[in-house]
Amino acid sequence: MKVCLKIKRFNPETDKKPYWKSYELDLEPKDRILDALHEVKWTLDGTLSIRRSCAHGVCGSDAMRINGRNRLACKVFVDDEMAFGKGVITVEPILGLPVIKDMIVDMEPFFAHYRSIMPFLVNDTDPGPRERLQSSEDRVRFDDTTKCILCACCTTSCPSFWARGDYVGPAAIVQAHRFIFDTRDHAAEERLQVLSDPNGLWRCRTVFNCTEACPRGIQVTKAIGEVKDALRTGVIA
């Protein structure tokens, strides 16, 4: 099918500011947007720069703003996006992080927020020679938030994050949730302490953009709500 792809381009070595450029392509309806970008790169303009690796929605490299919605380019299709965009597909970098070149943004602020919530199991008791036991019910309690691939779709769709880059952001809270609700972990209080900061949990205005954006189907806003409850009540349940 004929596809019109409008890409927001920027190369700091040659451009003063970002600009939109359109590309006409002939693609299969079920080609991914990632295929469309490769088609541009491999046949029309080699200078287009994107991050990508797995091409099936599990590595988290290619978060972009596609037709105004944060998506992984490898997990959305040209026919759907042509329909949604009424004949055009716009592609631009995710918002709220500095753009380095084309779709490539500086991820460091995002990973700094991630590191701030102590994203690792803390448990100094001697586990003994075998595995620590955990019931299936306790394991299921935090299953949803273990799916996170750190793609940043959620954080960079959040109006609070756009307004203030110091807001720790939904992805970091999702990671905190993954440990706070793991019965094997002992550092819930420290994490809640970090999140009680003015740039922590309370910046979330429950707008649900993040949940809509998550390519892993994580109930992000729900997870944030559970962490808020834990902070408010001091009870982790």
């Binding site: 190369n11 700091p12 070595e13 040659t14 079920k30 790169k41 491999w42 046949t43 303009d45 080699g46 200078t47 720069s49 994107i50 990508r52 690796s53 797995c54 091409a55 099936h56 929605g57 599990v58 590595c59 988290g60 490299s61 997990k75 380095i100 070149k101 084309d102 490539i104 991820m107 990973f111 590191r115 102590m118 994203p119 690792f120 199991l121 586990p127 020679p129 075998r130 595995e131 620590r132 036991l133 955990q134 019931s135 299936s136 394991r139 935090f142 299953d143 273990t146 799916k147 691939i149 750190l150 440990f179 793991d182 094997r184 972990d185």
Partner: protein, 592 residues
Amino acid sequence: MVHHHQFDALVVGGGGAGLMAALHASKRVKTAVISKLYPTRSHTGTAQGGIGAALGNMEPDKWEWHAYDTVKGGDFLSDQDAVDIMCKEAIDAVIDLEHLGLPFDRTPDGKISQRRFGGHTNNETKKPVMRACHAADRTGHMILQTLYQNCIKNKVTFFDEFQVIDLLIDDGKCNGVVAVCLATGELHVFHSKGTLLATGGFGKMWKVTSNAHSLTGDLPAAILRRQLPLEDMEFFQFHPTGVYKLGILLSEAARGEGAVFINDKGERFMARYMPTMKDLAPRDICSRYIYKEVREGRGIGGKDYVYLDFRPDQINKYFEEDGNTKRITAEYLETRLPDIIEFSRVYQGVDPITQPVPIQPTAHYAMGGIPTNVDTEVLADASGKTIEGLYAAGEVACVSVHGANRLGTNSLVDLVVFGKIGGIKMADYCERASFRAIKKETAADFAQSQIDVLRNGKGGEDAAKIRKSLQVMMDDNVGVYRTGPGLEAAITHIRELQARYKNVAAKDKGMLWNTDLMEAWELGALLDLAEVTAVSALARQESRGGHFREDFPTRNDADFLKHTFVTVKNGKIELSSKPVTITRYKPEERKY
């Protein structure tokens, strides 16, 4: 401008093997991880089904059974001393991962849950055994996340998005690496005492593949360019269940949960070929029989694919036929295999709960790679001589535990077991060795020349076209079925492409994030690896594991029970061989 760094230990690659090595090395010596991707984007994160270890949480199991299965699965090409280490250490490795925080699924009594996987058996009953420890069908994701989390906890130093393109080898010793910083395009020389390579697979030689775009064999190619050998390159695994046309993997875990192959006649054909293990026979065997069905006209609608059927009523029907009392439901499958069910819905528009799924074999895993001994030290030649200061672990290495065909769940075991051994051995070495002098001014010259040719080239050839031609040809001639004339044609074709490659010029001439240039460089690596793969395959006039020659359809232990070593010296490919280490298990015919 060239930048200089110095670390005791370097780990190249931030996947499961690299992070495991870094965790252990960084406790003792100054360590840096260099990775072309953010570590959490590494391909380990895509591993689905499980990690094998004889925990015996569900039913009796022993690491010796795991070892025998691995050797038999590898068609007796595995080095049995290495296999024993892996299967024995696997148990502690999985327990360690749990202690590090990995959220395994649990049994009713709270232990790590396990499931069946291809080729893993109870050696007494010969029936499938539950050995694969899992976290839903995202076990690799959880391993990668858990190891990265612990690296953060231990404040490991990372150079993210730095691509290594050359090794500093001098007088048979390794003194570090040279990398391109992708963000700036500048070269960085990393001077070290010890260097461990953990850059994963190189399946991008093929078109239909489960491998990520980034798996281009950069370090194996750098090894060849430094006139060092690669081992067993003819052994590449084609996984039977790739999403038709796309190659995205649908884990063997589906068959572990009961799914079966079905041909156009609606027949469960694996029961005919492998009466005991049936659909859970090893991958090389299933892939060959899928294509046999296709060739004999029983592909779906006469086409080049068959179905993987995991509709609950069908699974239960086959359970009943097999005398298995287990019964499953749609909800059960949704919790055990959520990701692969989603892949099929999203990428094929097929709902596996109600429809059979079209599948086709997909290029998946490199059994061969950079030769090492059981201490992960890289070998300089087939005699077993090592290169001081150089280590390798994970998919990029060939130790060789997987022999001619890897069993499912054994790569993740390999990563954590040999990643850990590598980290410890490298730290031992760094503690006793001192830095060897390097010539700072010229250290980056070879790397620089490789980049300059591509950036300043005036030729009219196009990297994307050459890559496509290579991949299509490799699917046709260096795939599941191979022949002498097909491989000869492949070698001729690759050499033509290599000649054209000399005239490739990057279209992007810039410095910052020049992915066009780096992709062109990666294509050079793929071409070099494709050439040695085809040459090694042509020389092996027998069929063993993942390497099947139609003109030599049987295994020939008298002439070929040996590992292939390949080097490129002055543009000429040289082959030699190394004996297989056989301890307990004498080669026998593989029946399942």
